[in-house]
Symmetry: D2
Subunit: 147 residues, 4 copies
């Protein structure tokens, strides 16, 4: 199949990243709205694609590079569920980096329906090695993230 | 945000439809591959977007139109899980209609990784009203599907 | 089938509630551990079963009672992901009510593997009517919760 | 926490196995019923617990035993979605082995609401090694399954 230019979202002029996410059957619950835990999935997709656009791939991190096996894990999320979303809605997931230091990334992620912010989260990630021990963010990874 | 032209996939020259699906953390399990039930989610996304491109929206079907509340339900799926997919893979979900008659749609759906077919399913859908009773496919819906 | 006495967990002597949750394939991701968003699902199951044991059922809340349609929605969650869990693990989800007033419930929920706390959350719930407008917690519901 | 005697379901007098599954928010979609792909999750939970009761654990299969790394993968499922289930429903997932030979297990799984069969599937599993190559079912595994 031909390429899909926007499949990993787009970088924003302010240094952030935006990923479009469609609401499907699987995302909703019997109340008629999106099930609350699924916003965390949408945010994880956006983080993965922000990394991807920066040239950082999970499969590579988890493979055995010069640094050994690595991966990001979520340490803390503060989540505000502000308004409901519904089937067929097209959402924008915006991600901005607030802090990158030591073994830690702090991000602000919002889910928007048009101009309305319907979900907002502060997310703390840690980089860990294959045994779950925190690792300092390698310089080349930091540089890629800051571009 | 600006528009995302390919967000609902594309129609194929042979009358089918193709939707790109990225494999994220949420889709995998500890074996390292995509969790088997998630292929059914990928197929449902593709069916929804094939309908969407044809101008048919779940929210409208479920709203009270002239025909009353309606929705598609899956009656039967024959699924072959042929090869594994992994994190970061970009899959193509192809959908072709085999039959549309009475209250029933029969579709062939395949999930491809490059040229490899990794999942294949025959799917029978029924159109039902708000009480779950099968309804004949309305003519305008049939015409839209056959274009 | 005969009854399943513990299917909704048990009340704890301190007024809390505990629900056992088994980790299955669907709960894990390719890192080998439980996918982070799934802890929110485990907590929601525990809240539902704590309500169930108190005689409060979602289907009834959502049905049209004397008070009209109602349901709980999650407004805020502060989540700490402390340690990983793995396939086949048997987890305990403990729920304690911190506050019940106005339209708001505040709960503390922890997920334990043996004596280790592996996930912890402060959860704010709101009771809303069919249009999403907050409703005061009815007295009989408050009394049931406080027993 | 004290033990949960029925957490892995029970063996049936006819050689089958039954697992109770509660329908939670996460299992439903905006149509009001259980999302179709989730029946596959329910069936996978039941298969895991049937194996568990027989003394076979995924973590052990995936660990490096005398036979090397192994795991079951789903090769084919023929699924009939017969009736809807709803929030709060308590379902029984019944599993019977039809065939165990070579590298292959064939199972019949049904999901019941009271006496009504609401979902039915024929499931073909294969035992594979760490590279995905089919392996003959070891004799001790076969004997455990047949007890």
């Amino acid at each position: 199949m031909s390429d899909w230019p926007d499949i990993a979202g787009r970088n924003l002029p302010d240094g952030g990243h935006v990923l479009p996410v469609r609401v499907y059957y699987e995302d909703t619950d019997f109340s008629g709205a999106v099930y609350h835990a699924n916003y965390l999935k949408f945010c994880e997709r956006a983080r993965s694609d922000m990394l991807r656009i920066s040239g950082i791939h999970h499969a590579q991190l988890h493979g055995a590079g010069a640094e050994g096996r690595m991966g990001f894990v979520v340490r803390r999320m503060e989540c505000d569920f502000l308004k409901p979303a519904h089937i067929d809605d097209l959402l924008d997931v915006e991600t901005h980096m607030l802090e990158a230091s030591g073994a830690r990334l702090v991000l602000k992620q919002t889910v928007k329906l048009g101009e309305d912010v319907i979900f907002s989260a502060n997310v703390t990630l840690a980089l860990v090695d294959g045994r779950g021990v925190p690792k300092r963010l390698p310089n080349d990874l930091l540089e890629r993230l800051k571009r």
